[in-house]
Subunit: 312 residues, 2 copies
């Protein structure tokens, strides 16, 4: 469904197209080129700078977590996600889970005597949609989320079930993702999800005796908020002003970001800040090259100010 080969990057005007070009090779490039720019001028940072490039940001966050556990922490961190020339004020936590539903297979001639595991998933998914709406209502309790239209997003991303058109399917499983507000505890919310699924199964004679199995198979992550007023944000804002000739804006994200690793476990202010992009995780993903250049400039200026420079 791409207009071009997603793995054959192409530039058209200010846009670079390609799978992962925006999310987030652009950011990695900005980090590296910022360091190169400083060196090309005959300088180096007067304090230590780590450049980290980690895996798993899209499914567990364990890559960033592993770096932290190994001791790579700092006084401030920048994660150059493609967040449209803005600073992320905070983000939701995310939970991943797989629900496995059993059915009772019988010959289709007598389908009524069986239990269709595929169709048994529908009311469970509907119940999870209701939980999503109930959680969204609670946004008024969260300063930074109360004006976000739909901060808690639930997604059924994958489904697989049954073996054969003419047998009532005996199994079906589906993979889900849901967000939780920054203060919320993943464990507590996972129990709420388990209750929701169990209750949705009680209306069904077969499922109430054969409850769906729930596996927590990825993100089990708390969210975070970068409260206003950190020195790191002030320095980034000044650097941004020089590069963009305008004030840096901030926004709250309804997606997972590795920043939670630094913020929740590392006690390190984390600035998620990066270039303008479109269609990440979708078709025809693209990033603005002029934006990548300005972001690179901001990061270079941030390093110069935060670490100070010295002649090589």
């Amino acid at each position: 469904m791409w207009s071009r080969n997603p793995f054959d990057p192409a530039i058209e005007g200010d846009w670079m197209y390609g799978r992962g070009g925006a999310d987030m090779k652009a950011g990695i490039v900005a980090n590296i080129f910022a360091m190169d720019a400083i060196r090309n001028l005959g300088y180096q940072p007067a304090a230590r700078v780590h450049i980290q490039s980690v895996v798993e940001e899209e499914c567990t966050g364990n890559g960033a977590l592993a770096c932290l556990v190994r001791g790579y922490n700092a006084e401030a961190a920048i994660i150059p996600e493609p967040v449209d020339d803005k600073l992320v004020r905070g983000n939701v936590g995310v939970l991943w889970f797989k629900v496995s539903v059993k059915g009772l297979p019988v010959h289709v001639r007598d389908a009524g005597a069986g239990q269709n595991a595929i169709e048994a998933c529908f009311p469970i998914i509907k119940a999870l949609r209701k939980l999503e709406e109930a959680w969204n209502v609670e946004k008024t309790n969260f300063k930074y989320y109360k004006d976000t239209e739909h901060p808690i997003n639930f997604n059924v991303g994958k489904i697989k079930g049954g073996d054969w058109a003419s047998s009532v399917p005996s199994w079906c499983e589906f993979d889900c993702r849901i967000a939780i507000f920054p203060d919320w505890d993943p464990k507590e919310k996972s129990l709420e999800i388990e209750s929701c699924i169990r209750e949705a199964s009680l209306n069904d004679a077969f499922l109430s005796n054969n409850p769906p199995q729930i596996e927590w198979n990825g993100f089990f992550a708390k969210g975070y908020v970068l409260e206003e007023g950190t020195e790191a944000e002030k320095v980034l804002g000044e650097s941004h002003f020089l590069a963009y000739e305008g004030d840096m804006k901030s926004f709250i994200s309804p997606a997972y970001l590795d920043a939670r690793v630094f913020m929740v476990y590392g006690d390190c202010p984390c600035l998620v800040y990066g270039p303008y992009s479109e269609n990440i995780h979708g078709f025809d993903e693209r990033v603005s090259l002029s934006s990548v250049r300005k972001i690179t400039k901001t990061i270079a200026l941030f390093i110069a100010d935060w670490c100070k420079l010295e002649k090589i």
Copy 2:
């Protein structure tokens, strides 16, 4: 979900357990042993007997059809399906189809802007369930089906969709089976199913512009009725009476049977008649061995009467 290894057959009392033991190795064995029994007594049929063992009875019927196309027809046929010591009076036609639904993938943080292909399947499946009920209402028009509780069975047997928990899924496909009454034309009914799916998609802004694709990927078969009064049925009934010391009963089946090949295309009366079984197509499939012996006896007596015997 079997109590024992399904491919390691076991006998307990009168039951033989094993996958395919009832449906339908038992019947094939009955056919072969009937011929052996005649030979062991020093006789052979005075007319030609074909023993056919075909593939694909469960998904297309093309095995039996291929035999017929090659010229293997007869004046009467017996198919020893596990139909509980009874004769099948007729059966439904069956259609198989796969429905492929597209979605619009976006990052889950903005799920509302996308279209979830998995959830888009639910209203389509519900519409097909309504069609199933509408078709069942028409049973009053069919002499042999009007007393059958639920002759038309629809089944969603398989589903698969999406690639990843955190992306709104861009595709989902599901495999279906539905029955049609004996007189109904498969082509005509396939168009009705296509209309049903198209209509169910019109309520949805995305699907109405991206209609689901429908593939007819297996059975596309008319049903049949074995009208009462054939000479073949009379001879089988007399043979059954000798083996069972009781009258042969008949019933109408809501499943597909290869008999339609002989009845619809071969102009050959086809007697579907075989042993008592439980849980075919399910867990712990089993067949009654005393029933297999009596069925074998009936078939041997049928051959003796229908073909007459001669000394080897």
